[in-house]
């Protein structure tokens, strides 16, 4: 599996902060599909495969993008599956830039929106109009 997307490549190169990456990746249909199709443990296994593929071809930007696509997909899963995903990742994966931040972001989103802990919930990070800038943003959760 190799995700080839100009949109994801651009977000990868231009990201200054983890939430930029999370926001852009979590809108991508391929990332959403990964989150919906797999269990947390399956996705962690896929992450390891993709990471090995990346190590074999570190010059391939699409391979790096694919690793992050799987990582963000793990953060989009329901609470239990997402925790299982991150727990199943080998310790050396902690060197991956922004892994901890993306996991923390995923947890914060679930805590702020408990409905996202249900397995039947699909997370949509589509932008919503700013109704109250002081209150900040809302991420939309809808039952599939």
């Amino acid at each position: 599996m190799l995700i080839k997307s100009e949109q994801l490549r651009d977000a990868f190169v231009f990201a200054n902060i983890p939430s930029y990456l999370f926001r852009h990746y979590s809108k991508h249909p391929e990332v959403l599909r990964l989150a919906q199709k797999h269990t947390g443990v399956e996705l962690a296994r896929l992450m390891q495969q993709q990471f090995k593929a990346f190590q074999a071809a570190p010059d391939d930007l699409d391979q790096a993008v694919t690793v992050y696509a799987v990582l963000v997909a793990g953060g989009l899963m329901s609470g239990r599956e997402s925790e299982a995903f991150f727990k199943a990742l080998p310790a050396e994966f902690r060197d991956i830039k922004w892994l901890d931040e993306l996991q923390a972001l995923s947890r914060q989103i679930r805590q702020a929106h408990p409905a996202a802990n249900s397995q039947e919930v699909h997370i949509s990070a589509e932008p919503l109009p700013i109704a109250n800038e002081a209150a900040g943003a809302q991420i939309a959760f809808s039952k599939v």
């Binding site: 231009f14 902060i17 930029y20 926001r23 570190p58 930007l61 060197d95 991956i96």
Partner: protein
């Protein structure tokens, strides 16, 4: 952005960076541009060259926030650290674009992914020029900005001509002496 520093044997570090009040600011430097990003850069040169001016080669030691707030010495990738700098260094918001001046800090903000958290500062830069009321194009879009695009180059560009969310633009300036 580098995927896994050790995969390239890339050298990384951080420096002692503090606010005006002496509070530490988390930061990170990277000294080797990941080879997998170089190919992408050549596409941007073609795609953007008619609309922007590339001020530097690609540099990964600092990101946009490092350019704006850390004198191009390191990268800052946490919005909370940026809000800390703005507060502790005595920045004040310039509430309308018409009052913005060259040298002001410009922030490109997006709504946070978690309700109730501060706005995410996706991008920042420095205002280079502001239109005058006598200009034909007297609107915010005519503001020119210098900013750094991720691990790519520093770029001179029109306010909205960049790959970042423009949901909320904010301007900041240190206007007066702050006493601690």
């Amino acid at each position: 952005m580098s995927l896994l520093h050790s995969a390239y044997g890339a050298r990384r570090s951080s420096i002692q960076l503090v606010t005006c009040r002496g509070t530490s600011i988390e930061n990170s430097q990277l000294f080797d541009i990941p080879p997998n990003e170089r190919a992408q850069f050549s596409r941007y040169e073609v795609e953007y060259k008619s609309f922007v001016t590339f001020r530097t080669d690609p540099i990964c030691t600092y990101n946009c926030h490092g350019m704006t707030f850390a004198s191009r010495r390191t990268g800052i990738d946490d919005s909370k650290e940026l809000w800390k700098i703005l507060e502790e260094d005595g920045y004040e918001e310039v509430t309308t674009w018409k009052a913005a001046l060259p040298g002001d800090v410009i922030l490109y903000c997006s709504r946070p992914l978690v309700t109730g958290m501060p706005l995410e500062i996706e991008h920042s830069g420095i205002v280079m020029s502001v239109p005058s009321p006598y200009d034909k194009l007297y609107q915010e879009e005519a503001i020119k900005v210098c900013s750094k695009w991720g691990s790519y180059s520093e770029v001179l560009h029109a306010l909205r001509y960049c790959p970042y969310e423009v949901e909320k633009i904010m301007y900041y300036r240190i206007k007066k002496q702050t006493y601690f």
